[in-house]
Amino acid sequence: MSIIQLERVSRHFGVQAPIHALREVSLDVESGEWVAIVGPSGSGKTTLLNILGLLDRPTSGTYWLSDRDVSSLSEGARAGVRSREIGFVFQSFHLISHRTVTENVMMSDIYRGGDRSTRRLRAVQALERAKLSHRSDYLPVRLSGGERQRAAVARAILNSPRLLLCDEPTGNLDTATGNNILDLFEEMHDDGMTIVMITHDPEVAARSQRQVHIIDGHLTEAA
């Protein structure tokens, strides 16, 4: 069963002399796959991730997420899909600095109107899966880079999303720490999580199950 189906999706920016960030991209991602989208900067890979994450709409083409045409949904419904079905991991973590790790993880539950009574318990479980239980009461400033990214991963998986979208998840980390995060992804992949990961680093991409390359807005499957 496919989770993601892109049908000739294009994205242009600007009207006069438009920039073609994506040119008729088609992509199928099966449930449980771990896909790396590899490309140099300016190749359109961030645009692709934003469209996959419903943070941006394609100029043309259709995006089916779990067999639904999400490109035609209202903004409110798209926000609802984001809150329930997609987990985000960013290069720069985006943790709220004045909240503890647990509180940061709990944040991803509020916009789906999640059950307040079980929220903290679920956050504790997510932190266990991300192997960060020992730091649950820390403020982000006291965490190492790798620990911050683990907190972000715990936040992303709190609601058991169908799809984990990662934007250069190891970009701000040294190689060893980055590998630890990739180990974590591998475990989640083994548990059946669908992961789409953007990277410019071929070594990071090599950890994934499948690689697609994007150059000048054209997507090509790696051999």
């Binding site: 209202s74 809150s83 329930r84 985006h94 916009y111 109107g113």
Partner: protein, 411 residues
């Protein structure tokens, strides 16, 4: 492939409790800055509450003074004679006539005697080393005047009807006049010279409630002034009425005194006390309200400013929230609540400080503090409205941020 619309298409939602928690958490993240931001609203609303309270308190105070004296006095004088009305004099028995009117408490004649350059002294012997003669006002009174001006006798006695009828050369001194002449008591039977005439000082008055120039005057009986100075008619009748009777007496007095020629008399009485209260209070209120309003405006600009800075600083957080499922509306509501809560806290603190200020000023001035209960209650409401208005533009800015671009900026 079929297009399936399931119940999973529903919009994202956030519980009221969660959105309040998020907003308050945003405020407590930088408590120092939040406190400073609120300070402007605090000052504005404290100023507003305090000035309203103090103006009410002070207004009541001023009115209190008017009530006590002004509401009970009427002066009747003769107009200068004209061709159509050559005889505008008042009768000698004016006080008796007026006292028959219901509402008159006391009445008395008062006439200033024009003595030219005549000086008043205590002795016929001139002492060259110090000044012994003074130019003092000499005023002729009927016995009822002392009551009408609420004179307080310091020592001796007052002139009476018999002395007036017999034209006795006696005088009562005002406290200031007595001091200048060096007379402190009447046991030694002091005498004063007014020009060529010698008067026996029989009493000294220490205070009056109206006609304060009596305190610096030599007061002689009316009959004596008729004999010695050819006083032809009383100049003024001073009337003390019961409270609230001034306008009534003012209408009746000319008819009681000169039924044949009421237009020849002029009646002076102060404005209605109620009108005075309104005038004084509205003047003060407008000024004070303007001051408080300006302070509140400054406070609102402060909240708008800091909320805007906060939005720009927190673009990363806003992007994250959008990624987690927040709609533009959720973002706007969160920032609106943040600014509204700031305004509310400013209102509560401001109302408290303002009320304290009213009480403190009243305590220092020994006034009774007066504050409309709605004012401190309305202040937090006004503060919230100010906060919401101030937060509108920053909230719209926050909601308009594109999540993609916000996420690219580092947290």
């Amino acid at each position: 492939m079929s297009h399936i619309r399931s119940s999973n298409d529903r919009r994202s939602s956030i519980s009221f409790w969660d959105v309040v928690t998020e907003a308050v958490s945003g405020l407590t993240a930088r408590p120092g800055r939040t406190a400073l931001t609120i300070l402007g609203t605090v000052i504005g609303l404290a100023a507003l509450v305090a000035t309203l309270g103090i103006s009410q308190t002070a207004g009541n105070r001023i009115v209190g003074r008017f009530d006590e004296l002004a509401a009970t006095e009427v002066f009747v004088t003769a107009r200068p004679p004209t061709l159509s009305s050559p005889d505008n004099t008042m009768p000698w028995d004016s006080p008796e006539r007026l006292r028959r009117l219901d509402g008159v408490v006391a009445a008395g004649n008062l006439s200033v005697i024009d003595l030219g350059n005549t000086l008043v002294s205590t002795s016929s012997v001139r002492n060259p080393t110090e000044r012994t003669d003074f130019r003092l006002s000499v005023q002729a009174v009927s016995p009822g005047l002392f009551e009408a001006v609420r004179a307080r006798l310091a020592t001796g006695r007052l002139t009476d009807q018999l002395m007036s009828e017999r034209g006795e050369k006696v005088a009562v001194l005002g406290a200031t006049a007595a001091e200048r002449l060096g007379i402190s008591g009447v046991e030694q039977l002091p005498a004063i010279r007014v020009g060529d005439q010698v008067f026996l000082v029989i009493g000294i008055i220490s205070d009056v409630a109206r006609q304060f120039d009596l305190l610096a005057a030599v007061i002689i009986p009316e009959g004596t002034a008729q004999n010695l100075y050819r006083l032809s008619a009383p100049e003024t009748v001073v009337v003390e009425t019961r409270i609230g009777a001034t306008s009534l007496i003012a209408r009746q007095a000319p008819h009681a005194l000169r039924p044949d020629n009421p237009e020849g008399l002029k009646v002076a009485f102060p404005a209605e006390p109620q009108r005075v209260r309104d005038a004084v209070q509205s003047d003060l209120d407008v000024l004070f309200l303007l001051l408080g309003g300006v302070a509140l405006l400054v406070g609102a600009i402060g909240i708008a400013n800091v909320t805007l800075v906060s939005v720009l600083e927190r673009t990363g957080e806003i992007g994250l929230r959008r990624a987690l499922g927040a709609t533009r509306r959720h973002i706007a509501v969160q920032f609106l609540i943040e600014s509204g809560v700031m305004g509310f806290i400013g209102g509560v603190v401001g109302a408290s400080l303002g009320t304290l200020a009213v009480v403190a000023v009243s305590a220092v001035q020994t006034w009774s503090p007066v504050l409309e209960p709605m004012i401190p209650i309305a202040a937090p409401l006004l503060g919230t409205i100010v906060g919401l208005l101030a937060g509108t533009y920053p909230s719209i800015r926050a909601a308009r941020l594109e999540p993609v671009e916000s996420l690219r900026s580092a947290t």
